[in-house]
Symmetry: C2
Subunit: 350 residues, 2 copies
């Protein structure tokens, strides 16, 4: 039984021990919903395996605190193990540590100076069409409205602001088949990949400064496939490319850039997600000041971009090292769990 | 019922109509064995689905006539169809046309001026460990000994002499994984393929003249594979390369060349088959003169290399266009069937 009166470490440990691999969040969503419903200052609603809990105390501003309930698949890293300094186990870092902080605050925020909306959502780790926050934004966008959204993604207890956009596309190279014993009768599509890969390799990453934070772009081949048989000159080769772009480009700009950069090539856009600017003004700035450490740029895509698209300033702030996310030995420092809880509580009540 | 007294076109048609995809040659081998056993001038033996028929008339020289019984898989190209000019159907070109010529000669060669060894063998179209001729060379090499071996591979009724060697190898490129949002922390193995592919693409093919025939080498990427996920910088990339080398190189020379050409790279030899020099002297020269057309170099590997390794001069001579081999609409010109039969008969009896 999940109890929001418990210590944040106990809550985090309990969350880790309820398996919730993407698409299998129901038991955890049930436990979270049940725990939230025991607190009268919260209005709880449920959408699939996404749980929303809101206060309505008529404060002058509203803050969203959001975290996803799902994890990547098990990797011999359950149950949780607390060694006194670190809490180990699947999801401890990404992001049940952050969810534990949010639940602790939810259970005890009746006296907060902001109204609060807590969103615990499903399917962040898989295709974006399944993402619980995306679904909520579609059917009940008003529930995401706020002066600031804090995403409890692991960020070492610092503010990581905005995020880079991500564009996935394929480059298709075409040649002409021939028997490899008479290769001069064909056109080798795999070998025509050479200048394309060289162009990718020589990409000079921009590092633009946006709202005082420096982002770092990346344009990378993430896969290549071609070939029919050992004795056939291949007539097709596919290069998959991932473009991480800074928040000073829109998705449209990013797609334009890619078409220009690979002019004359056959490009198929596979997936695209917008960047989010840091937007560290107003409520966001006051939160950064409360954390007391300079904000960092988020390198990697997070759901802050979804809030940014709705015009809601959003930032990442949670316990745990983002580099440990999805690794077998992920863990979260216990001191960071407590520090994040204290920082948020202090900011919300003073 | 296969009858070697029939016209060569009827025999070819009958052969095409007995399905014999590699590893399923038994019905055809049975029919061939049975037909050969009805001729007293032949001593017939069987090894798996390989049939050998020999004369022993004490002539001063011996000639091997060999052909494989198997075909590539069906491709909506059975039964055979004779349109008056062309015999269509699976294996008509590669190489049941040539096998029909060999069977006609076998049935009527009692008066030949050479002793003859006919070898009809299994599994030429698949991995070389299954090849019936290779197995025979291993257990009964004396059955392959001769002054000349004629392989009835399709060669448009011309002599195609010798063959190029073939060397298959993989180049493994290694990098370091990283999240694609922080690509500068990794080393992209797919992108390091660029200079290797460029080097393959810029290979200047040698065209050495061996015994008066011009060969044409080829060094080609035939496949490439790399990549883990859209958000991971790949740490491995594999390029598969096929090297066709002229008969002035040994397999050892070819392997040395490749190691030097790709010095510093991780190379794994996957398969290797030697080249065969044309060796158009003595009995071979007299055969070329009987055909009355200049010999051509064989571009592509055939089992002549196996005879060459045993010190038996070997050449390719058969009806059908080698470019049609393995195509759905393969066929053999009826005039070429008759021409090949007449040429061989005349050479053997005068």
């Amino acid at each position: 039984m999940l109890d929001l009166e418990d210590d944040v470490v106990s809550i985090a440990e309990a969350l880790v021990n309820v398996e919730s691999v993407s698409h299998h969040e129901k038991p955890l969503a049930d436990a979270v919903e049940c725990a939230l419903r025991r607190h009268d200052h919260l209005t709880v609603s449920r959408f699939g395996n996404t749980v929303v809990a809101r206060t309505s105390a008529g404060r002058g501003r509203r803050v969203v605190v959001a975290g996803h309930l799902d994890t990547v698949p098990l990797n011999a890293n359950l149950p949780a193990r607390n060694d006194g300094e670190l809490l180990h186990g699947l999801g401890s870092c990404d992001m049940k540590g952050g969810v534990a902080v949010a639940l602790r605050i939810a259970g005890s925020c009746a006296d907060a100076l902001s109204d609060l909306t807590f969103i615990f959502y499903e399917c962040e780790e898989v295709e974006s069409t399944a993402n619980g926050l995306a679904k909520l934004a579609e059917v009940r966008p008003e529930l995401l409205r706020a002066d600031l959204a804090i995403l409890m993604e692991p960020s070492n207890g610092q503010v990581e602001a905005g995020c880079q956009g991500a564009l996935d596309f394929d480059i298709k190279l075409t040649g002409r088949r021939a028997h490899s014993a008479r290769s001069w009768q064909g056109i080798n599509a795999v070998e025509t990949a050479a200048p394309v890969l060289a162009k990718l390799n020589s990409f000079r990453a921009r590092t633009p400064v946006v709202d005082g934070l420096t982002y770092h772009e990346g344009l990378n081949a993430v896969a290549i496939h071609g070939g029919i048989a050992r004795n056939v000159i291949p007539d097709e080769c596919h290069i998959s490319v991932n473009f991480r772009f800074a928040p000073d480009r829109s998705e449209h700009d990013a797609i334009d850039f890619v078409h220009n950069y690979f002019e004359g090539h056959d490009i198929v856009i596979v997936d695209s997600a917008p960047a989010a600017p840091p937007g560290l003004t107003g409520t966001a700035r006051s939160f950064v000041e409360a954390v007391g450490k300079p904000a960092q740029p988020k390198l990697g895509w997070t759901d802050v971009a979804r809030f940014a698209q709705l015009g809601v300033p959003a930032l990442n702030f949670g316990p745990g090292d983002p580099l440990l996310a999805h690794t077998r030995d992920e863990h979260v420092p216990i001191a960071q769990l407590r520090m994040c809880e204290n920082t948020m509580r202090e900011w919300l009540t003073t």
